[in-house]
């Protein structure tokens, strides 16, 4: 399958991609701003994400909470999300509502600030603090989302700090921060707009020029520091996290090649071999045969700057202590490093990747999002049509090369969650032993 892509750039710098598909009367509008938590200055962690919330609070011609209402009244779905390297906003609407979606995005890109008030900021700050409690603080293992990057990236690196932000930093954010952040990053020359689905390209172009054309270009954004890192950690980094949980769980991370590079695809296939679906190596060995794990999976962060992370995520079966879990996982990885993987492993992984790619591309919203991703990170939306070819070109030799270079002991970071009660029991008994001596 080939996804059609047409591109153009407005004089103000906005990069636009159009992908037609008239199967159903549906169109997706997808806007990526090239700003994420990595761009936050010290003392302002969580700001990119808080800002995402503020973009749903209205603009010059849209009342508070009207953004959601207007899209839903039009029969559309919508949301936004924040990541380390980007923030995106998207809606899928009936195709006769394309102009509404474009107008809404243009209105908040061009005229957000007149609508910002202290009251809106205070409310969204409360909402975000509740989101933090809900997704991290009151959720077993929830803190892994901020602890793993903190463990894997050096303190001064832009990927080190928490995306959700600290409560203190969130409390300190004021309206002037909002204004400055907006002026710096929410500009047409720092954004990619993708439209996918049922539309007429000439008409779409006209609408985009009408609504986005008048928005002035930005004044440029501060450059990110050098993000490059050595290919390996150079040690086995370890952190043990006592948490209110019942079963130990291990996140074992490996520094790996940046998203989009040729080497990335071998790393991604390696991840699928280790931990995607029932036939994967870790599921078969640890869940099915050894029965020491209740679940096992693997994934990549898909970071495009500097280096990426490949992460193995394994939860213990009841009765398996944390130390044993870590040892069992490490032993399996050691076997993979020692013996390598085979052609059949690669074939299984690539076949699954093919099916899930084609499945995802059925949806206009997914197509638009994937195109925006390649356009934002690399300026090359056509990479969406090259992805499967890159996967199909991965050989077992290349995966084994990746394994030799990246999976051994000098490139591991383990974040090990242990039940708090078990730990206190251990501490007590360790203390008793010390007393006895």
């Amino acid at each position: 399958m080939r996804i059609p892509i047409e591109t153009f750039r407005l004089p103000n710098g906005l990069f636009v991609t159009l992908s037609e598909d008239h199967t159903a009367p549906i169109v997706a509008v997808n806007l990526w701003y090239h700003v994420g938590s990595a761009n936050e200055p010290p003392g302002r962690t969580g700001f990119a994400h808080l800002f995402e919330h503020m973009l749903f609070q209205g603009s010059a011609d849209v009342d508070a909470n009207e953004h959601f209402e207007l899209v839903q009244r039009a029969g559309g779905t919508l949301n936004g999300s924040t990541w380390l390297e980007r923030t995106n906003y998207f809606e899928t609407v009936p195709s006769n509502q394309l102009e509404l979606a474009l107008w809404l995005e243009a209105n908040r890109m061009g005229k957000l600030l007149p609508a910002m008030t202290q009251q809106k900021l205070d409310t969204q700050r409360d909402v975000v603090m509740n989101e933090r409690r809900w997704s991290m603080d009151n959720q077993p293992y929830g803190t892994w989302m901020e602890k793993l990057p903190a463990l894997c990236f050096p303190a001064e690196h832009p990927f080190h700090h928490s995306l959700m932000g600290s409560m203190d930093d969130l409390k300190a954010a004021g309206l002037s921060d909002i204004a400055q952040f907006f002026a710096t990053y929410y500009t047409p020359d720092n954004a990619v707009l993708s439209v996918a689905g049922d539309f007429d390209p000439a008409e779409a172009r006209r609408l985009i020029e009408t609504h986005f054309g008048p928005i002035p270009r930005g004044k440029g954004k501060p450059p990110l520091p050098d993000m490059s890192l050595p290919p390996v950690f150079g040690q086995w980094k370890r952190e043990v996290v006592p948490d209110d949980i019942m079963l130990p769980r291990l996140f074992l991370a490996f520094r790996s090649p940046a998203f989009g590079t040729k080497e990335y695809y071998a790393a991604s296939v390696c991840g699928a071999i280790l931990g995607v679906r029932n036939g994967s190596r870790l599921r078969r060995r640890l869940v099915r045969e050894r029965q020491v794990a209740a679940d096992a999976s693997a994934f990549t962060y898909d970071l495009a700057k500097g280096s990426d992370l490949l992460v193995v995520d394994v939860t213990a079966r009841p009765g398996i202590p944390a130390e044993q879990l870590e040892q069992e996982v490490a032993d399996e990885i050691d076997v993979v490093v020692r013996d390598g993987i085979e052609t059949a492993d690669v074939e299984r992984a690539v076949a699954l990747i093919q099916t899930s790619f084609v499945s995802a591309m059925q949806q206009a919203g997914e197509r638009a999002d994937r195109i925006s991703l390649f356009a934002t990170y690399f300026g090359k939306p056509e990479m969406v049509n090259e992805e499967l070819g890159h996967y199909e070109a991965v050989t077992h030799d290349r995966v084994n090369e990746f394994i030799r270079e990246r999976l051994d002991e000098n490139n591991r970071a383990s974040l090990l969650y242990v039940p708090r009660d078990a730990e206190s029991v251990e501490l007590v008994s360790a203390g008793a032993e010390a007393d006895a001596q």
């Binding site: 205070d122 409360d126 959720q139 029932n278 079966r317 009841p318």
Partner: protein
Amino acid sequence: MTSTAIDKSVRPKPGAPREYHFPHFERRRLDNGIELVVASVTKVPLVTVAILTDAGAACDASGHEGAAQLVAKLLLEGTINSDGAELAERFERLGASIDAQADWDSSSVTMTALSEHLPAAFDLLGEVMRTPAFRIREVERLKGERLAELLQLRAEPRGLADELFSRFLYTPSSRYARPEGGDERSVASIDREQILSFYQARYLPGGATVIVAGDITADRAEELTRRALDGWSGAAPGRVVADDLPARLDRAVHVIAKSDAPQSELRIGHVGIARSHPDFFAVNVMNAVLGGLFNSRINLNLREVHGYTYGAFSGYDWRRQAGPFVVSTAVKSDITDAAAREVLLEVDRIRAEPIAADELSLATSYLDGVFPIRFETTASITAALAVLVVQGLPEDYYDRYRQRVRAVTVEEILKAAQNHLHPQSMQMIVVGDPSAVRAPLDKLGFGPITQYDTLGQPSA
């Protein structure tokens, strides 16, 4: 707030809508009783196949709850020909993603594969349905995994609130009062013999439906189905009807103690109505206004006006018998009572006075407009056809859906709220810190408060 300053005339008007029809589907009956439903959609070279059997969790024998889910999952853990590891490998080398599950009303094995691999993958699917091995080792392992899941739940406030909500909602003898996947005692009691006899009694082609959606013709789908399921025989098993009586008719508060919890997981609701109820459309639209949409009354009140929560929603769980109606949210511990009060006020308000025309049009135009977006994938079309089959909906249900939604009136909504929301028999479940929530909830005066531990045993 500043609505007077907003010039609404600058907003774009929609163009003429393009017509949309739910994918055409064909139904056929095969010799061994299997019903075949095929929707040909040719956008991408992909096909989803689901095999449904009348073997949902409602069929679990008393004391052995969880058997239906174990049987469904065990289908993928080995056939007479292949052990579990080899079976997974055979599917995945074809790129076929396959999952099996049992919900309340049916069990399903669902597979998605690229068209080029479909014939081989379909044959394997047939092998799974016809010749599961149920090896003791795999039975015991899956039981262990379910017990691990239950153990995890004790520390997971969200899942715990959902599970205990059902327990406090339904009369103890109701299947709906127990978790779909069974509890510690019932799962431990299930052995291979029970698994095998459940399979033999309920996995019968006479009660089975094969749904195929994607890049395939009905004739080809029939050919592949016949080939894959050749030799599978048996008439439809009898229908099992779940008891859906409530545990009590008066209000009560159930506090599940999780000390030092930074948030309270809150569930407020009661036994709802069956999917087949004639008020389905009015109730669905009423719920959209109350708490089904982002801009619903409950979410706007709790999240956008008060900043109490990241989100608050209400919903009916549609089953053959009456599933729960529940309002769900997570709020900071110290405003648990205030959040509960706002939820109750919203329930009272929608029962007391007609909703505004504007609110009705938001809900109906959303449900109407979003309809085509719900069926972009072979998997979602398959799921929609499964609902049609399992709930016995009319053949033209999806063709008439949008018209039925648009026809709902303000009066019908008021009536639906008055008839199907029951503030006097609501149960409130709070998973949270008792030292922070008990006294304020007591003052709220909703109902008698009982405190439990995370296993649901009364405590303190």
